[in-house]
Each structure stands twice: as structure tokens, then as C-alpha cells.
């Protein structure tokens, strides 16, 4: 395509440069009813899955329709979202912290037409463009990352695993039958961009092989002390090696100390570790961020490894479904996944879900590992550990 200048002059890059203006002030985009009643809301109700009403002191009502968003979306899709907002919501809309889309209307009679319009729109392949749901005690959107679409350190894909999982859990998105909210998150490496460390169920990309060393380029491309300091288990040390008869500076990796975190590759491009057979998925469970009844919790590793099975990850989605179904049938009302697992005991969690307990799940990272072992005779006999 021909080059079209925006007016930027590459020879004088600092001329007419605008900077440090920050984001737009959010009040510019408030629907009038939100602007008027800001800070004066009385209560809200979830009318049905995906539809909430908020009632203000003035008596004003705000109906909110929440629909699933695929997060990575084209400009045409955003234009379609705008078109819907123009048609039904005076041009206003918002995105949630879990990347759902919320359309807001100020009276009840506007809800049905909007709902029907949203549910009538489908992708050519058959998927809902705007599935209504994500409210209350169900499963809302999966917070996720870049995967093979854009990042250089992933051990699995984000968009693919998320689509496969949401398809399997779709009924829970459009309904509110669970004991409490169930948050699923996904990160494609253990940088954990997002919320995998604090979610009810988490999908995490994982490597199983140590980095390869590109000795020829390592000293040229990497700041060696940074690579050494990047390693949580001190598996890396500086080394002199011979390349084509010449001594060069590089590093050596003690394979039996490496646990494949990939942090050295983040710092040093000459230490790649992605591997087709080695890479896959770890499942974690039991985390939460709210302070509701129990304090926030970290999620724990419950499945040590599942292979990458593109494009649908069937073993992974089966394990997730199994966890969700067991929790749904067993937990008390308001109990989050972690609340439930801690009440019944993790040994019962493994028995009930049928997940395999392996030595990989026992913490062995530094002094804090000790506190995750059991210093009590309080336990239940189970058939989970063979």
C-alpha cells in the first residue's frame, strides 16, 4: 500500500509532538443516567443471567446487559458493537474488568429489543457474537493473555485454550446455578500476566525442558549477569566456551537444578526453551481476590501436566469440566472453589474430582515449602493417593 503520512515529520520528530496527556476523563463517556446518579445508587438486582438493574436514590433505573467478549477483536467487530450502542443505548457502552461488554439502557422497555438484537447476531461459523451472561453465580469471561498470537515466551496458546474452555463451560456463562462465582483465568507462561495466581480455576502454560544455549551469540545479545540473576534456582553460572576454535563468554545451565521457568529467556534471547512435545499446561485451582467471608487466596497447582492438543485441548477441557461439575454438586451456597476445597480437605478434593495426585504437586521451593506440608494428624483416609 502506498505510504500515507499522518503529518508526522521523521526528520523533525520532536516538532508538534504531543505527550503526557493521559487517558480521556471517563466522565466524558458516561450515559446521562450514570452521570446524574453517580454516587447515589441504592441497590441492584440481577434480573436474569446477563441482565442487572441498578436503582438510584432519585428512582432512576439503569438496566445493564452484559455480553461475552472474545477480547481479541477486529475493528469491524468494534464497529458492530458501536452500531448496537447507537441503535439502543444513545451511543454509550462499557467494557468490564473481565473484558465482557456492557450495554446500558435507562428504561425497562428498552431491554427486550436490545436483548433480542444481541442474541440474533452470529458469526458465519455459528458462534454467538454477543452471548448474554456472565453475571452472578456462574462462570464469566476468562481473563487471558497473548499466547501464540503475539508473545515470544508462551508455552501454550491463550485464545485457543480459552475458546475451547468457554465452549465447554458455555452453559455456566448463560446461567447462575453454581454455589458462587467461578473465575477461570489463563496465562501462557508463568509470568502469569493476568489473574491465574488468584482464580478459582487457572490454565497455565508450562515448559518441561531446560533452555538451549546459543553460545555463538549469547555474549553479544545478552547481559550475562542479568541472565544469571534471572534464575530462581541459581541453575545458571557464567562460563567460557569454545565456538569455532575461539573462547567466548557465555553461561552454563545445570539441568538438574532447572525447573523450566523460562525467566532466563525473558532476559536473554540466546536461551530459548519452547518445545513442541515438552510444552503444555498446568491447572491450578482455589484462588480468589475478594475478601468475602474468607481472605483472598492463591490458587494451587492441581494438575501437573497436560499436553498441548491443538486446536481443542480436549484433555484439558475435560479436567476443567470435571472440577467445575464436582464443585457444583458438592459445595455449599456462597462457597468459592477454594473455600470448598479447604473445608473438605485437599485429599477429599482429589478423591471427589478423580484428579491424580503426583509428587509434582508437593511444594519444594525454599523455606516456605515446609509450611505447605501437613504438621498435624488431622487428615481423612481417601483413595485419592495410590
Amino acid at each position: 500500500m502506498a505510504f500515507i503520512s499522518s503529518g508526522y515529520n521523521p526528520d523533525k520528530p520532536m516538532v508538534n509532538r504531543i505527550t503526557d496527556i493521559g487517558p480521556k476523563y471517563y466522565e466524558e463517556f458516561y450515559p446521562p443516567v450514570i452521570k446524574k446518579n453517580k454516587g447515589k445508587w441504592l441497590y441492584h438486582e440481577i434480573l436474569e443471567p446477563g441482565i442487572c438493574v441498578h436503582v438510584a436514590e432519585s428512582g432512576d433505573e439503569l438496566y445493564v446487559l452484559r455480553v461475552g467478549g472474545c477480547r481479541i477483536m477486529s475493528v469491524s467487530h468494534i464497529r458492530e458493537i458501536n452500531e448496537i450502542a447507537d441503535k439502543h443505548c444513545d451511543g454509550y457502552l462499557r467494557f468490564t474488568t473481565r473484558n465482557n461488554i456492557e450495554f446500558m439502557v435507562d428504561s425497562k422497555d428498552k431491554v427486550e429489543p436490545l436483548k433480542n438484537d444481541l442474541l440474533s447476531r452470529k458469526q458465519p461459523g455459528g458462534c454467538y457474537k454477543f452471548p448474554l451472561g456472565g453475571t452472578g453465580a456462574g462462570i464469566t469471561n476468562i481473563v487471558h493473555t497473548q499466547g501464540w498470537i503475539h508473545c515470544h515466551t508462551p508455552a501454550t496458546d491463550a485464545s485457543g485454550t480459552v475458546k475451547a474452555t468457554m465452549d465447554v463451560l458455555f452453559d455456566q456463562f448463560t446461567d447462575m446455578k453454581l454455589p458462587a462465582k467461578l473465575r477461570v483465568s489463563m496465562a501462557c507462561c508463568l509470568n502469569m500476566c493476568g489473574a491465574v495466581h488468584c482464580s478459582d480455576i487457572a490454565i497455565l502454560g508450562y515448559h518441561r525442558k531446560p533452555p538451549m544455549l546459543d553460545h555463538e551469540y549469547l555474549d553479544k545479545m545478552c547481559e550475562i549477569p542479568l541472565a544469571v540473576a534471572a534464575c530462581p534456582t541459581a541453575a545458571i553460572k557464567p562460563a567460557k566456551v569454545e565456538v569455532n576454535g575461539q573462547q567466548v563468554k557465555s553461561v552454563s545451565v545445570k539441568a538438574e537444578r532447572c525447573m523450566f521457568c523460562g525467566n532466563c529467556y525473558t532476559m536473554c534471547p540466546s536461551m530459548p526453551l519452547a518445545d513442541t512435545e515438552g510444552d503444555g499446561i498446568v491447572l491450578m485451582a482455589g484462588g480468589k481476590i475478594s475478601n468475602r467471608i474468607s481472605a483472598p487466596k492463591f490458587s494451587k497447582v492441581v494438575v501437573a501436566f497436560i499436553e498441548n492438543e491443538m486446536p481443542r485441548w480436549p484433555t484439558m477441557t475435560k479436567a476443567i469440566k470435571k472440577m467445575v461439575d464436582t464443585y457444583a454438586g458438592d459445595a455449599n451456597k456462597y462457597e468459592r472453589f477454594g473455600d470448598w476445597a479447604e473445608r473438605i480437605g485437599w485429599e477429599k478434593f482429589y478423591e471427589k474430582t478423580g484428579l491424580e495426585f503426583t509428587h509434582h504437586l508437593i511444594d519444594d521451593f525454599r523455606d516456605p515449602a515446609y509450611y505447605t506440608w501437613r504438621q498435624t494428624t488431622n487428615f481423612k483416609f481417601t483413595n485419592a493417593i495410590k
Binding site: 520528530p13 545479545m221 547481559e223 532476559m267
Partner: protein
């Protein structure tokens, strides 16, 4: 790797225009980076930053933290940006021939 010609020399560079090796740095490289980094006139302060970066890298094998760079040169971050519009990493380190910054930048 791509190559660029400048001032009668040939340099191998990556896709972001960083030089392939600290050892292949030379004064012509400085002039080349000046031409692509939006710098009108090179002055003593540019040279001081480049010298400090090369000296620190030679001794320590890493680029200095921004606070160290400010402390040693006496230039506040704002002034470093006045000298190098792209900043200490993409601008100054590139000119000094250091490896491309890594991590979640």
C-alpha cells in the same frame, strides 16, 4: 541479520537497529544512530552518556540502572530524554553499542 552502510562502514543490525556486537562499535556508529534517533546536534552531554554506558558495560557486563546512570552523569531522567528522545534504553544504549534491553519492556 540486516546490514546498514554509514560513513563508509557496514554494520550488522537487528530489526530494531541495535548493533550485533559491543565490539563492532565505532564513532561512525554514533553518527548513524544520531541520524535515526531524532537527535539534531551531538554535544558533550551525549558523549558523556555514551562514555558512561560503555565504561559501565565493560566493567559490569550489564547496562546501568537508570538511577545509576543519573547519579554518575548528574543528568536527571528528564534531561536524558531531552538528549535522547527515545530514552536511555532505545536511544542512549543503542548509540553506545550495548545489547538491546530485554524483559517486559
Amino acid at each position: 541479520m540486516e546490514t546498514v552502510e554509514f560513513g563508509g562502514k557496514t554494520f550488522s543490525v537487528d530489526e530494531d537497529g541495535f548493533i550485533d556486537s559491543f565490539d563492532n562499535w565505532c564513532p561512525e556508529w554514533v553518527q548513524y544512530v544520531k541520524s535515526v534517533e531524532g537527535i539534531d546536534e551531538l554535544n558533550d552531554e551525549h558523549s558523556k552518556l555514551v562514555d558512561v554506558l560503555r565504561d559501565y558495560y565493560e566493567k559490569n557486563g550489564i547496562a546501568p540502572m537508570v538511577r545509576v546512570l543519573s547519579k554518575v552523569t548528574g543528568f536527571k531522567l528528564k534531561h536524558i530524554y531531552e538528549l535522547f528522545p527515545s530514552g536511555p534504553g532505545k536511544g542512549a544504549c543503542k548509540m553506545a553499542g550495548l545489547p538491546k534491553p530485554t524483559g517486559c519492556v
